[in-house]
Symmetry: C2
Subunit: 335 residues, 2 copies
DNA sequence: CTGAAAGCGCTTACAG
DNA sequence: CTGAAAGCGCTTACAG
């Protein structure tokens, strides 16, 4: 059987010490180039694979990053975080790091239990992907290792956060509606549910303010309860000429509601979304929306995390990743 | 600073040896119950966290399982494998194991490079999630650690595989169409692309055979090239009364094609899919389909993998996980 | 019931 | 340019 080859085995075979083997394989100084090449060749021939556990033990680094996603955000219809996780995994790979995904169960979240990867020192840092409760944030703050929030932030916490630029995304999107003649514009989303829904709302509101348009209370349509469970949408009366939805999935639901009630989109009513996820192109008409740059978010997060692991004092604060408006066919020009 | 607490620190504080601390914290024999409790309390008070790297080094186990997904299967529209990965991560968690996701780039797949988690001995076993080329399978066979295929198998390889019961799923689904009076039934899928498309086809064919229905060549409609890239679907002429699609995504595409050409589904033509993924309920009408039991597949895979890690000689062969037909509105009874 | 010793496979700091 | 020694933090096997 191919018993695992160690540096010692190579050293024995080559008649050198394992120190020399280590130096040669790691391209460190102190070994002649000639010997280095010989050792590398022997290692390759013997099928040597480095034991990362021994390396980790010695260096005090696991080369793993924990990514925590609350179970609440992982049902069948929500794939955004999984795709973000995938990009994170790829980005980590490129830095010789590895991701360990931890799905935070509802129970552990409620009972404020940290994941086992924390208790077992399995990782060098934590990326919290998806908003958790204030109480859970306080628990995370006590972790003395590098940590960051991804796709949300907490105003009271100074933990680094990478977020999509929700505010300007919604602001620009609303501006574009106004440029096309819309004046009665509603917002769909529960303002008390997550910071991103809130920030998108504020971007929408800023656009209204700048154009001196009134924000009518009945034009804020709730879409979910504070736990994130979707509610039946209630159409405002009178109807606006356009809806800014906090996400594509809700825009998709709204579209179905509107069509069921006999409204034609965009002829009778325009709808825009946010995220450019699968719902944007599955909706009929396809949605004008803001594309979150998942790739960029993942890469920024990983890069920052690795910097923090290397120098734990590094602080980034709140990093905004710009989105991009994708124009499709769910908006009617009123001009 | 909270310098990491080790067993040694606890031992020093309690005036015992670190052996005793280890035994106490692991609930091993050889320490009085009284002392055990005292040590556990002290560990808790001191904020002790076990160093899993040291444990791993000592035991020769990483407690990680590598899950390899070819990049080809991870574009925006395909979330099946990511959801399966998520279930795997949860199942592993329950066994005190962790998953490391490796996205196998097209390049590494073509160049037959094994992932770095192999070369660094980062994991105790490998789950290959999604079909790879014959050549790559041969490379995987050379891995001397536990390994298994998930959601595909290779006839020439005796590597354990967990697959959904594609054959009987498609067989039952086709039977149900025939029971509803359909006689002219087409199949949509490239028979040379993956084993699951092939097996679903054969289940469909078995149903035809049993009912003495002819399999007309023009009723096999290709949906993708052998690399998996979707092709424009070509409707057969004459048209069948029903289509059995190899997956929901293709059923969704077919639906759009049919509707664009003026066919009404299911009035003019019935369509069934496979997978019960997001496309099944995003299609209009919602698709009658076979639900792949993702949860069960992941749990079976993880359980088998852990058995194999504990006793490397364990063989499972090909494990079939039963699917379940979900009846919706995309089929018209002709009776 | 308790502990001293050994060892897992590396790498760093130091000596030659 | 090369190597002996030490140590990362555990756990097992053995001795008392």
């Amino acid at each position: 059987m191919n018993k695992n080859i160690t540096m010692r085995d190579i050293a024995l075979k080559m008649g050198v010490s394992s120190v020399t083997v280590s130096k040669a394989l790691n391209d460190k100084d102190g070994v002649s180039d000639e010997l280095k090449e010989k050792i590398k060749l022997a290692a390759w021939e013997m099928g040597y694979r480095i034991n990362s556990v021994a390396k980790s033990m010695r260096e005090g680094l696991t080369y793993n990053v924990g990514v925590i996603i609350p179970e609440r955000f992982t049902d069948t219809t929500q794939t955004f975080y999984l795709r973000l996780y995938q990009e994170i995994a790829v980005a980590l790979q490129q830095h010789n790091y590895y991701g360990i995904l931890h799905i935070l169960s509802r129970q552990d979240e409620a009972q404020l239990n940290l994941p086992r990867i924390y208790h077992e020192q399995k990782v060098d840092g934590f990326i919290m992907l998806g908003q958790v409760s204030k109480e859970y944030i306080e628990i995370i703050e006590q972790i003395e290792q590098p940590k960051m929030f991804l796709d949300f932030y907490d105003e009271h916490s100074d933990i680094d956060a990478i977020i999509t630029d929700n505010f300007y995304g919604a602001y620009e999107l609303t501006n574009s509606l106004i440029r096309q003649g819309h004046r009665d514009i509603a917002y769909v989303g529960n303002l008390y549910s997550t910071s991103s829904i809130q920030d998108r709302f504020l971007g929408y509101y800023k656009s209204l303010l700048e154009h001196r348009l009134e924000l009518k209370p009945q034009w804020i349509v709730s879409d979910r309860d504070e736990q994130g469970t979707f509610l039946e949408l209630e159409l405002p009366d009178p109807m606006p000429s356009a809806f800014v939805c906090n996400c594509d999935q809700v825009a998709h639901l709204l579209l179905q509601k509107l069509q069921a009630k006999g409204y034609s989109v965009p002829a009778d009513c325009s709808v825009v979304g946010f995220d450019n996820d699968i719902y944007a192109t599955l909706s009929e008409p396809h949605l004008t929306t803001v594309e979150v740059d998942i790739h960029q978010m993942a890469f920024t997060a990983v890069q920052s995390m690795i910097k923090k692991i290397r120098s734990p004092e590094t602080r980034f604060g709140r990093v905004l990743v710009q989105g991009k408006i994708i124009y499709r066919n769910s908006v009617q020009s009123l001009l």
